[in-house]
């Protein structure tokens, strides 16, 4: 029954995707949205031309590695801050506000600044890291507090030390919410990276998007955007599976 339900859900999602793609093709070929909305077929054609394969791979890898660094640094920072706030509760209110203020710093202001004081590669990484930091801090705070009150009572009754409590209760209870945070941070990392690449990087999908736009290479523009969204989507979906597995295990 469960497999049947999953299968049905997958089928309906696939049908939905298919309908969207067909709509895209129709609107594109009929030029209903003008010349800048190409049909799906020409985007796919541009995505699969052999002479661009290396371009896409290079740009994709560049973006992926910048995003990965930003993701890693941001997650580490966000989780460390959440843990810090958990262990030193008096710092929580201040950390919360710091996080929400950092999150509100416009990326367009950070871009040029980081480009000038860091380097083109690290600017994207830093912007991505800041975005990821916020998501991960919020998720981390919720996660580390998600142990049930009765479980906390239980640990106190059995005389657990704070360290044992952290390791045997707080961390395992936190895992599902943590994985949710991991998943939600993926598009943020990509967004930061792409935005960073717009401020003068010489590599990556963001650069390709910008350059295609500047040079009126509409098919290239769309196929790059598709590539970028596809990468993000794949990781997002994979982490969705991890989330489900962890959720089943720890809830």
């Amino acid at each position: 029954m469960k497999y049947v339900t999953h299968f049905r859900a997958a089928i309906t999602a696939a049908v939905g995707f298919a309908v969207i793609l067909v709509l895209w093709q129709v609107i594109g070929s009929a030029k209903l949205l003008g010349p800048t909305f190409p049909p799906l077929s020409s985007v796919i054609a541009s995505l699969t031309v052999p002479y661009r394969r290396h371009l896409y791979i290079r740009a994709g890898l560049a973006t992926l590695s910048t995003a990965a660094w930003g993701y890693g640094i941001g997650q580490a920072g966000g989780l460390a801050a959440a843990l810090f706030g958990h262990l030193l509760p008096f710092s929580r209110a201040g950390l919360d506000r710091l996080a929400s203020v950092i999150h509100a710093i416009p990326m367009i202001a950070l871009g040029p600044l980081f480009m000038a004081v860091l380097s083109p590669v690290w600017a994207g990484t830093a912007i991505a890291a800041i975005g990821v930091f916020f998501v991960s801090y919020i998720a981390g705070c919720t996660a580390i507090e998600s142990a049930a009150p009765t479980h906390r009572d239980l640990f106190q009754i059995f005389g657990a030390s704070p360290l044992r409590r952290l390791w045997l209760l707080d961390v395992p209870s936190a895992l599902p919410a943590l994985v949710t945070g991991l998943r939600q941070a993926v598009p943020v990392a990509f967004l930061g990276t792409i935005l960073g690449e717009w401020f003068g990087s010489a590599h990556g999908l963001g650069l390709l998007i910008l350059s295609a736009m500047e040079n009126f290479q509409i098919a290239l523009l769309w196929s790059t955007v598709i590539l970028c969204c596809g990468l993000s989507l794949i990781i997002f979906v994979l982490l969705g599976y991890v989330e489900r597995i962890v959720g089943r295990h720890y809830r």
């Binding site: 010349p35 010489a202 590599h203 350059s211 736009m213 040079n215």
Partner: protein
């Protein structure tokens, strides 16, 4: 492959790494810089990149390409910058208009809806009107880089480059003077070079031989470029700008069409990259004043006319 002992010169480009920097690509690829004892590294610019002056001020570049008015603004904010020369003494920027409202003289701009990308473009229009003593009667229509909104009728004119948007239109099958009109800003009375090579006074004083050597290699590069425009274009598409997804034919076309702009009109003897003192003292200062820049610094405080001739001598 580089000998680690070579001194590094960091160049900041004013725009994306395209064929606009043909001389650099050739000098890099053919080892002209290395032959001059330099290890040249570069970073690209772009539509959203911080201004090269910021990179100079932040100490992240030694040499950079800048435009005339931003250069003056940066100097006014306390940056001791020096112009060494210009890559394009003639600016390819101009106004593309349609036969319905052709723009040939400044007065033609009045009352038009003009598509333009940014500050550089709008200032140019305003400067033209100021120099001609006309009122600022035009409507700014924000646009992207591509000129197609002009064809869609979103505006009457488009501020673009001879070396770029004009080519785009021609590649779309349109013909100049039949389907559209292109008038260079110089012909509208606003005369500025396009890309000034700039460094800080401190860098120039401390590393003058290095700067001379750099310019020498660069002149060799640009000279070589004129023998075959396809070489630099290929270098851009396959090597230095490989991540931009450029179109080779377009880059060749752009390179071929930009070569005339690297020379002074009617002055074939002027060495490549040299800055003409008279042009600077005359039209460029006039343009600056027309664009509302007051209290302009003395010409010798902001320019050095000796480096390029010295570099040229050594070739």
């Amino acid at each position: 492959a580089e000998t680690p002992s070579l001194p590094v010169v960091r160049l900041k480009l004013g725009w994306i790494a395209n064929v606009q920097y043909a001389g650099e690509w050739i000098a890099l690829d053919r080892g002209f810089f290395r032959d001059q004892g330099l290890d040249v590294t570069w970073t690209a610019g772009g539509p959203n990149a911080p201004d090269p002056a910021v990179m100079l001020a932040a100490g992240r570049a030694d040499l950079s390409y800048m435009s005339w008015l931003p250069f003056l603004d940066a100097v006014a904010r306390g940056n001791d910058l020096v112009i060494l020369g210009t890559e394009m003494p003639r600016n390819p920027l101009g106004v593309i208009s349609l036969p319905a409202h052709p723009v040939r003289v400044p007065r033609d701009l009045l009352g038009l809806r003009i598509l333009a990308q940014g500050v550089n473009e709008t200032t140019s229009i305003n400067a033209v009107l100021a120099i001609a003593g006309l009122p600022r009667q035009w409507t700014f229509v924000p646009a992207g880089f591509a000129p197609d909104p002009l064809l869609d009728g979103q505006g009457d004119a488009f501020v673009g480059f001879d070396t770029n948007q004009k080519l785009t239109l021609e590649m779309m099958g349109l013909k100049q003077d039949r389907d559209f009109i292109f008038t260079n800003f110089a012909d509208l009375g606003f005369v500025t070079p396009a890309a000034l090579l700039v460094t800080t006074r401190a860098y120039l004083t401390q590393n003058r031989p290095r700067v001379v050597a750099f310019l020498r290699a660069l002149i060799q590069g640009w000279t070589f470029n004129e023998t075959d425009p396809a070489v630099a274009a290929r270098l851009v598409v396959e090597k230095y700008g490989e991540d931009y997804g450029f179109d080779l034919d377009q880059q060749i076309l752009q390179n071929r069409s930009q070569i005339p702009f690297t020379h002074y009109r009617g002055m074939p003897s002027r060495p490549l990259l040299s800055l003409d003192r008279d042009m600077m003292a005359g039209p460029m200062y006039a343009a600056a004043r027309a664009a509302g820049r007051t209290a302009l610094p003395d010409i010798d405080r902001i320019a050095d006319f000796t480096v390029v001739p010295e570099a040229f001598k050594g070739i």
